[in-house]
Symmetry: C5
C-alpha cells in the first residue's frame, strides 16, 4: 500500500507525486523523492525495484521480512532493516521497516507494524535546513525515530520489573511473579534482538570511512549510536536483574516454605501434646488415684490448657506463629 510519495528540493517539499513520475524528479538537481510503503503487495515492490533499480537480494529481504536489523551497502546505495517493536495485549509485536537509500531517493517499506512515520516526515519538513542534507538525513530521522520508540517499551519493562520486585519482597502472588519474570526475560530478548545488531551496524556510519550518503551527518549517526549503546546497556542490566530476581524469588519460596513448616509444626504440637495427655488418662490401670478424684478431670483440662498456652506463647515469641 502506497502511503506517501513526495519530491523534495533543497529540503522543501515540492509536491506529492504519482509513482510513475518518480523518474522525472530523481534527476533534478538538489532534488530527492521519499516514498513510503506499508505492507506492500509483491507487485508494488516490483514496481519500486524497476523504478529505482534496487538490488535483487535487498528486495528479496524486504519481501520476506523477518530479517535481523542490519545496514548493508550495495554499491553506492544503502539497505537498512530496522525492527519496530510495539506493545500489543501485554505482549510485544515485532514489525519491520526496510529502508533503501540512494543518492536521490529514499524508499521505506513498513511491514507488520501499526504506527507509521508520518510524524517523522512532518518534523523533517519543518526543518528544511536539515532536510536539505538529502536521503542520508531521512535515514537518520527514521533510525532516530525507531530507536527512540524502543525506550518507552524498555521503560514499561522496567516498571513491570519494579512491580514484580515489590510483590516478590511482599510475598504476594508468587506464582504470577515467576510467570511475569519469565515474560520479562522474553521481552528483553525481543528488544535485544532489535537493538544489538543495530549497534555494530550503526557504528559504521560515523567512524572512519562512512558511506557517501552519510558524509556530513556523522555527528547525527553517532547520536543514534549513543542511544543504542545506552539501550543495550539497560537491556543487559535488566536481563541480569531479572535473572537475579528469579534466583532471589527461589530463595524466598524456600524460606517461606520453611516458615510454613514451622507454623504447621507449632500447631501440630498444640494438638499432639493434649492428645498424649488425654491418652494417659485413657489407660485402664486399676490403680490410678487421679481418676478417682473429683478434681481429676477439670485439673487435667486445666493443665492441658496451660501447657498449650505456654507453648503458644513460646512459639509466638520465637516467631513460629
Amino acid at each position: 500500500m502506497l502511503i506517501n510519495c513526495v519530491a523534495y528540493q533543497n529540503g522543501r517539499k515540492l509536491a506529492d507525486i504519482p509513482v510513475d513520475q518518480i523518474h522525472l524528479f530523481v534527476h533534478e538537481p538538489d532534488c530527492f523523492v521519499w516514498v513510503a510503503l506499508g505492507d506492500p503487495e509483491p507487485a508494488e515492490l516490483e514496481v519500486m525495484q524497476s523504478e529505482f533499480g534496487l538490488h535483487e537480494l535487498a528486495v528479496e529481504d524486504a519481501r520476506h521480512g523477518h530479517q535481523r536489523p542490519k545496514i548493508e551497502e550495495y554499491g553506492e546505495s544503502l539497505f537498512v532493516v530496522l525492527q519496530m517493536i510495539e506493545p500489543s495485549d501485554g505482549d510485544l509485536n515485532v514489525g519491520e521497516v526496510a529502508i533503501f537509500v540512494v543518492k536521490n531517493y529514499v524508499l521505506s517499506v513498513r511491514s507488520r507494524a501499526k504506527r507509521g512515520f508520518t510524524d517523522v516526515r512532518e518534523r523533517c519538513e519543518k526543518e528544511p535546513e536539515l532536510l536539505r542534507h538529502g536521503p542520508g538525513y531521512v535515514l537518520y530521522a527514521l533510525m532516530d525515530a525507531v530507536v527512540d520508540r524502543y525506550f518507552p517499551i524498555l521503560d514499561a519493562v522496567e516498571t513491570e520489573l519494579e512491580n514484580v520486585e515489590e510483590r516478590i519482597f511482599a510475598n504476594q502472588a508468587v506464582r504470577a511473579n515467576i510467570e511475569a519474570l519469565y515474560g520479562l526475560k522474553q521481552k528483553l530478548m525481543v528488544l535485544k534482538h532489535a537493538a544489538e545488531p543495530l549497534l555494530e551496524a550503526t557504528s559504521k556510519l560515523f567512524g572512519g570511512r562512512v558511506p557517501a550518503i552519510c558524509v556530513g551527518l556523522q555527528d547525527y549517526f553517532r547520536d543514534v549510536y549513543d542511544h543504542l549503546v545506552r539501550l543495550n546497556q539497560s537491556i543487559d542490566s535488566q536481563r541480569d536483574m531479572v535473572t537475579t530476581a528469579i534466583t532471589v524469588n527461589l530463595s524466598l519460596i524456600a524460606l517461606q516454605e520453611g516458615e510454613v513448616t514451622k507454623r504447621l509444626a507449632a500447631y501440630a504440637a498444640l494438638v499432639a501434646v493434649p492428645t498424649m495427655i488425654v491418652g494417659v488418662y485413657g489407660m485402664n490401670f486399676d490403680y490410678m488415684p487421679e481418676l478417682r478424684s473429683p478434681y481429676g478431670y477439670p485439673v487435667t483440662l486445666g493443665v492441658i490448657a496451660a501447657i498449650d498456652a505456654y507453648l503458644f506463647y513460646r512459639f509466638r515469641k520465637s516467631g513460629w506463629l
Copy 2:
C-alpha cells in the same frame, strides 16, 4: 555412490557425463563439471582425488567425516565442510557435506544424510544467468540450501520450547518437562556446532580479500552470512530461555511442594483435632459429667463436625485447600 555428474557451459547443462570423461570438459572455456557423491566408497573418492588433483588432507577429512564446519583454502581451490542436520525420531541426525570447489569443477560429497541436493541443482539449472558465475555460485547455492534447512529445525525447537513453557506454567507433566528442556538444550548444542563455526568462515567470503572463486558473488555470500548471524542469535536466545525455563521450573516445583505441604497439613488438622477431642472423652475419670449426659455423645460429634467445618472454611479461604 555417484549421484550426478553433469557438465555445464555458460550456465546451461551440456550433458550427464561419465566420470572418466570429466577431464575432457574441465578444460573447455566457460565450462565446468558438477559432481555429487553420496556416502562414497573410499575407492570412489580416490578416483575423484586423482581426477581432480585434490589435496590429500582435504580428501582425508572428507573420508573420515565428523569434521567441524569449515572453509579452507588449498591454493586456488576451496574445501568446505557443512553439517547437515535432519530430525530423526525426535532426535537430530548430523550428516555432512564436503564440497571441493576449483576453477572449473565442483565436487560435493554427502555423508550420513538422507536429503540430497537435487532441488538445488534444479533451481540452479533454471537460472542459467546466475549459474554462469560457475563453481562459486554452485558453492553459494549449496551453502544457502544447507543453512536454510537449519531454520525449520530451529523453528521446531522453538515450538517445542513454547509447548514446554505452557505445560510448565500449567503445572503439567513436570518430570517430562525437565527431560524435554534438557533435550532441547542438547538439540540447540547440535545446531550451534553446525552454525557457529560457519559464521566466521563465511565472513571470509565477502569482506576484504576473497578467494578468486567467490569474486563477484560477495553479496550472495553476505546474504548467507546474514542468515547465519540470525540463526546464531536465535540459538543463543533460545539456549538462554531454556536455561531460564529450567530455573523457573525449579522455582515452580519448590512452590508447588510448598502448596502440597499446606494442603496436607490442612487435611492432617481435620483429622488430628477430632482425634484429640475423642481422646478427651476416652479418659477414665470417675467424675466427668458430660459422659453421663444422654446428649454427651451426639453433642461431641456435632462439636467435632462444627470445628472441622470451620477449619475447612478457613483453609479454603486462605487457599490451603
Copy 3:
C-alpha cells in the same frame, strides 16, 4: 543557575566576571574562562550555546540529561558527560555533569546532584603551575573528582556486603538479607553504568592520538583511567560475590530447613512414643495383668519418662536437638 564564572590567566584567577563579558576574556592570550551551571534553565543553556558556539546535539544532550557517560569530540572541542552518584536515604541518586571543553573555556553543567565542585575549583586555584595547562587540566580535575567520589560509594556497598555476609553465616534476618543482597546488586549496577562506559572513553585521552586539549596531560588522564580500571574490577568482583552470596544463602536456607525438620521430628517422637504406649494400656482386654498391678501406672509413667529421656539424649547427641 549560574554558580561561578571566572576568568583565569596563566593559571591564576583574574576575576569573577559576568556572563556577558566572557567573550572579552576568551580571546586574551593564556587566558580561559571556567563557567559552572547548576540545574540550568533552558534559557541559561541557550545563552551559553550562543556565547560559546556549542554544538546543537551536545547542548541537546546536556538539556535532556539522563545520558550515558561519554567523551565526544566535536571538531576541536570535547563534550564530556559524567554521572554523579550520591547516597540518598539508603538508595543511590544519579545526577550528571556535562562538561564542554574548548581551547579557552570550560563549561560544566551539573544536574540533579547536590554536591558541587567548589572544592575542585579551590584546589585548582591553589596550584597555578598545573592550572596553567588550561581547560584540559580543569577537565582532568573534574573527572578526577567525580571518579574519586565513586570510591566511598563502593566502599559503603562493600561494608554492607560484609555485614550481610556476617548475618548470613550467623543465620540472622534471612529475609532481610535476601532483600539487602538484591539491593546491593542494584547499586552495583548503578555504579557499573557510571564507571564502565567511562573506562573506554577515558582510554582515548592518553594513548595514541589524543585530542589537542589533552596533549601534555596524558599521564594525568592515565591516572584517572587507572582508577576507573580498579573501580570496575572491584564492582565486578563484588557483583560476583553478591551472586555467590545469594546462592550460598539459598543453600543455608535449605540447610536450616533440614535442621528444623529434624528438630521438629525429634520433638514429635518425644510425643508420639508415649502416645503409643498409653494407647496400649487403654486397650480393653479382660486379661491384661499389668492393669491389675498397683505398680502398673507409676511403672508405665516411669518407663515412658525413661524412654523420652533416652530419646532426648540420643537426639541431642546426634545434633537434632
Copy 4:
C-alpha cells in the same frame, strides 16, 4: 632415560647413533637427528643442552615440568610443551612432552606419561617423502599424535555423561550421579587446560608469518589446529551440559522429594483416619447406642476398611501412591 637417538637423511633412517655422535650428523646436508628421552635425569638433560645449545629457560621448563602447553620461539628454534593426558584408575593422569625443534635436530622429552611415541616414529619412517620435510614434520607428527590421543579421553567423558544422564532421568543412584557429574567437570577442566592454550599457540604455525622450521607445512599445522578447535568446542559443550545436568538433577531431586512427601502423606492418611474413628468408639459416654449393638464392632471395622480402600483408590488415581 634415553629412548631413541636416530639420524635421518632425506627422510630415511640412517642409523641408531650414540648420543656423543650427534654432532657428527647434525651438520651433514639434508640430515637431522631425532632424540627421545623419557623422564630424564637432570644430567641427561644437561648433556642435551650442551650438545644442542638449548636455551637455559627452555631447559629449565623441561626439567621442572608442570608447564602449561605452549609454543615458544627462541631465536630460530622452537620450544613446544604439550600435556599428555592418560586415564588411570578412573582419574586422569597429566604427563608432559617438551619438544625442542631446531634446523637439524628434534629432542622430545616425555615426563610422567606411560605411553610413548614409538608408533609415531614408525609411521614417520614409513613415509620418507613426508619425513624429508625434516624436524618441522616431526613436530607436526608429535603434535598430531598428542592431540589425537585427547579424543578418546573426551569420548569416554561423553559416554560417561550419557550414562549419568540416563541414570538421572531414571532416578537411579542420585548421590552417585552428583559425584559423577562433579568428577566429569573436573576431567573436562583437565582437558581444557591441555587443549585451550595450544589452540592459540598452534594458530601461529600456519597463518601469516610462521617460524622457518614450519614453512611448507602450514596445511598440516592447520589440520592440527582444526582438531583443536573441534576439541575445544566439544569440551565447552560438555561443560555446559554437565552444568545443565547438575541443575536438572537438582530439579529432579526437588521433584522427587515432593513425590515422596505425597506418598508419605497418603500412607499417613491411611493410618490417621482409622485412628480417629477408633478413638470415637473409645469414648466413655454412657449413651452410645453403637457400642451396645452386637454389629457395632464388625461394622466399624468394615467402615474403616471401606474408607481406607476408598482413600487408597483416590490416592492411586491421583498418582500419589
Copy 5:
C-alpha cells in the same frame, strides 16, 4: 624504613652506600644503585623523589598504596606496582611493592607485607653475569619472586578445596563447607586481582616494542608472563569448581533432606501403626470377642511387634532406614 642501599658495577656488588651518596654512583659507567624501602615515611619517599627525580603521580601512587598491579612508562623510566599476598590467620593479607626502574637505579618500596626480598638480592648477587643486565634484570628478579610466591597461596586454596570436596561428598560439616567455599571464592578473588592486571601489563615487556630497560631480557619477561597465564588459568578453573561445588552442595543438601524425610517417615510409621491397632482394642463395644480371650492381649502385642518388624525390614531393604 631504609632496608638496603647498594651500588653495583658490572653485576657485582660495590658497596653498601648511604642514601646521600647515591648520586655519586648513578653516573658511573656500568654502575647502578638498588635501594629498598619498607613501609617508608612520607619524608623518606620525598628524599628518593628528589634524589632520583621520580614522577609526582608515581610517587603519589607509592605513597597512597592500595593500587592495582600495573606497569607504567614515565618517559624512559618504568613504574611497576605488584601486590604481595601473604597468608595470615587463615585469611590473605594484601601488601604491595612499588618499583621505580630507571637506567641506573632501582627503587623498591614495600608496604604492608612481612616478607622482604633479601633472598632475591642474594640470588642476584650470586649470578653477576645476569645482574650485569642492570635494573631491568632486577625488575625481572623481583617480579619473578612476587609471582612465584602466588603459587603456594593458590596451592593452599586448591588443597583446601579438595578437603572441602571430600567433606561435601562424605556429608560432613555441611554448614562449615558452605562457609569454607564462600571463603575460597573470596581468596580466589584476591589472587585474581593480583594476577590478572599483571598479565596484560607484563605482555608489553616482551612482544613488539619493549621499554629500553627491558631490551635483551624479553625471554625472561615472557617466562614471567607464562607463569602468570598459568596462574590465571588455575584461578579461573578453581573459581569455576568452587561455584560448581556450591551448586553440588545444594543438591546434596536437598538430597539429604529427602533422605532424612524418608527416615523420619519410616520411624513415624513404626509408631503410628501400633497406635492405630491399640486404638482398635481401646474401643468400648460390648461385643468384641478378642477382648474376652485370655490370649487377646499377648497376641495383639505379638501382631504389633510382627508388623513393626516387617515394616522395619521393608524400610531397611528400600534404603529408608
